[in-house]
Amino acid sequence: MHKPPEDEPEERLSVTPPEEWAAGVPAVAHAIEYSLRQTSPRRAGRTLLTMNQVDGVDCPGCAWADPSPGHRHRNEYCENGAKHINDEATSRRITADFFRRHPVSELARRSDLWLNQQGRLTEPMVKRPDSDHYEPVSWHEALGLIAAELTSLDSPDEAVFYTSGRVSNEAAFVLQLFARAFGTNNLPDCSNMCHESSGFALHETLGTGKGTVTLHDLHHADLIFLVGQNPGTNHPRQLSALEEAKRNGARIVAVNPLPEAGLLRFKNPQQPSGVLGRGIRIADRFLQIRTGGDLALFQGLNRLLVEAEDAAPGTVLDQDFIDSHTSGFEDFSRHVREIGWDDIRSATGLAREEIEAVRDEVLRSRRVIVCWAMGVTQHKHGVPTIREIVNFLLLRGNLGRAGSGACPVRGHSNVQGDRTMGIWEQMPDAFLDALRQEFGFEPPRAHGLDSVDSIKAMRDGRIKLFLGVAGNFVRAAPDTAVTEEAMRRCRLTAHISTKLNRSHAVCGRTALILPTLGRTERDVQSGGEQFVTVENSMSEVHTSRGRLRPASTLLLSEVAILCRLARTTLGDDPGIPWQQFEADYGTLRERISRVVPGLHEFNRRVIRPGGIRLPNPVNEGVFRTSAGKALFSRNAWQMPLAPEGHLLLQTLRSHDQWNTIPYTADDRYRGIRGSRQVVLVNPEDVAGLGLTAGQRVDLVSVWANAEERRAADFEVVPYPSARGCAAAYYPETNVLVPLDSVAEGSNQPTSKALVVRLEPTGAAADRSEEARA
């Protein structure tokens, strides 16, 4: 194990050509190397060998589903999962002495990487008003401070309770129960910022908010689309599923502005061909689309399919399915016929022949799945894009049949489960009625605030208290300067966390760090050893048990912290036995089974190997939409346009990064090492803009009313991205995303297709110098 860094690492940028394959032996080597830098071989081995096993710990790294029990590898994890879990299992510790040496104002100047590398939080800390230091505080006093602040508010709606997708079902249920018993629906969550557009569009058109496919469907699809996602870095275990699909004869179409290594070729380190051979090709066709062109692509594809049916009636579309299970086809088909090829060409940057070739792939395929991630959802037109994907699937009946369907690929390991547990500011009355029935209080009915609206309310002084359960809200949120100012306006901010991050340093007048158990750790309560449950991206609810000795004896579990906070704030209540919930999570699941539909007999069913597979109504032939049928939609679009001298920027993650936390400054697959302050630009755009490789530039995003936002001092890296489209790392460039720039319908921040110009660093200062002169 290495010691945590005292100083910020100083490295220089080095650039090599991007890789054309993902994983292989280097993935194993990097996973082991990072793990052993964090902890002992024994601890690392213990986490890795129980990861994603039936009775083991669910990898908090992503929400990808596990193979069926009995069919899992001994090593059922990926490089990034291994790095992530040992980042949590680290042997490094942060003690009170650390906070004595580092004032909050200094922590606020530190990088995300440095903060994370300091290790695990070990005892509750408070930053009192007018102090620049965190100091130790007892749990009793810490929770008392929050409770006192909560009860002094003029209205419960002056508090927000944020959830990150690592939080277990049990903790999420307790959090929403506490918030609603306290009197507010202000329950923003991280999914407001990642897949809200998916949930909104799928719910509207199919009557379900969740994806419709299982791992087994993927294994046996004929054709799989990977749209706006980078499985090699963000869901590496998906590559194993794609490998199996290809072995079974599937074809894959990847759609992305960047030729990501994981889209091109996969070397499975658990197969001889992946260690010694060339691995397997992933994408049979790679469509290098302009950022934000996906809606136009699917409309073009849909137009081609409708016209193919005209040419050979009864052979292309699934007319029986369309007639019996859908509504709105006529209106939709009239609309797509009117979409012009010139518009499609300029929105996508793709030649018509490329889209026609994809149509031919579709016509040869009985079972089609479309996977997508944030390259689709984080656009202004993210919702209509997903609706158009649904149109595409409906046309040939690719919903409800085995091997076909819609597959939003979610990131956080329990982001889907948290929503199932009621973490949503707009929960339907039926859920709130069930809460009332079960717990005997009247939940508030007025809708609460999501993430974007919470920031606005904090900015405007309408929110006084922020409680975050896991996550790093300050860095995950858009418009960094506005978000940070908003947090600093709060009277009290508190975070239930495992590790240090910027949200602890950019905080309210009073701030609390409430350290909690990690997923990897044993959770012992007075009722015995506990497990928690999570729901993956494919609606499988299963257990997760940690095995390691907790990082500190002073840690409380998330459930325990929330139950104690609820009891301190609301007092003892015979209707809600908080103490009992804390002692035995089984009693909590018993209550969940009566409130959340589909989780009946939760305790009995979830301990079966593999857990509970929640059915998707679409696979039962049921569409719970307004019309009782799947809905075709007509989707108008405006091409994202960059004026002369500007580019469309997307934010993205590096390979050595998990959400807001970089592990190193390297991005191996893209050939970037030593610095994250880079902007990836097509070489022709570099020349066209009069820039040179390695030049230092400020990224300036342009928004309505000529508002400008600046991310200073980035190095230009020529990169084979689509023409006119640039990319830079999240969260460093969140500062460029205007708070008001949201996806229509879902209110999700638009971290893609930002209009930016690249100004040589120092030019703005030079201009103002000149103006003064």
């Binding site: 079974n248 982001v415 059915p615």
Partner: protein
Amino acid sequence: MSAIEETVEVRVPVHTAYNQWTQFADFPRFMSSVREVEQVKPNLTRWVVGAGPLRGRFQAEIVEQRPDAYLAWRSTGRRHAHSGEVCFRPAETDRSTVTVRMRMHSPGAAHRLAAASGLLRGTVRRELGRFKEFIEAVGEESGAWRGSIGDGRVQPEEPEPPRSRVPHWPVG
């Protein structure tokens, strides 16, 4: 491509025989060549079959299913490619007949050999016999799925069948 057909008469009413047949996960209890079955979804099952140390794995999509009457499946993927159907007919009082038809599509030598040597037919006949023994001895089904499937898709009998009563609010 080769086809086989085997029929067995069972001394239980047709709905009992049919209901038991829909409980695929129970098959390893009485069929010796079926090691494991997982019902992924109503229209998708995953099978592990084998004899001795040999194992074969495949997924089967159920393309048609009508209660007390008929079920048709086809395997997905390249290996062990086959399709089949099961017909259930009422016979004289409290009896019924079960007919299995199977076609192998796999070009592999092992499959050709199995088909040519009558091994497959023998296996199907023996397994049908075991089904008969089991259901006649038990006398009642261990469970039932009474839904219908047409063109590979579940056809709901009611607007909101119990299994689809799950959280359906948007997921971000």
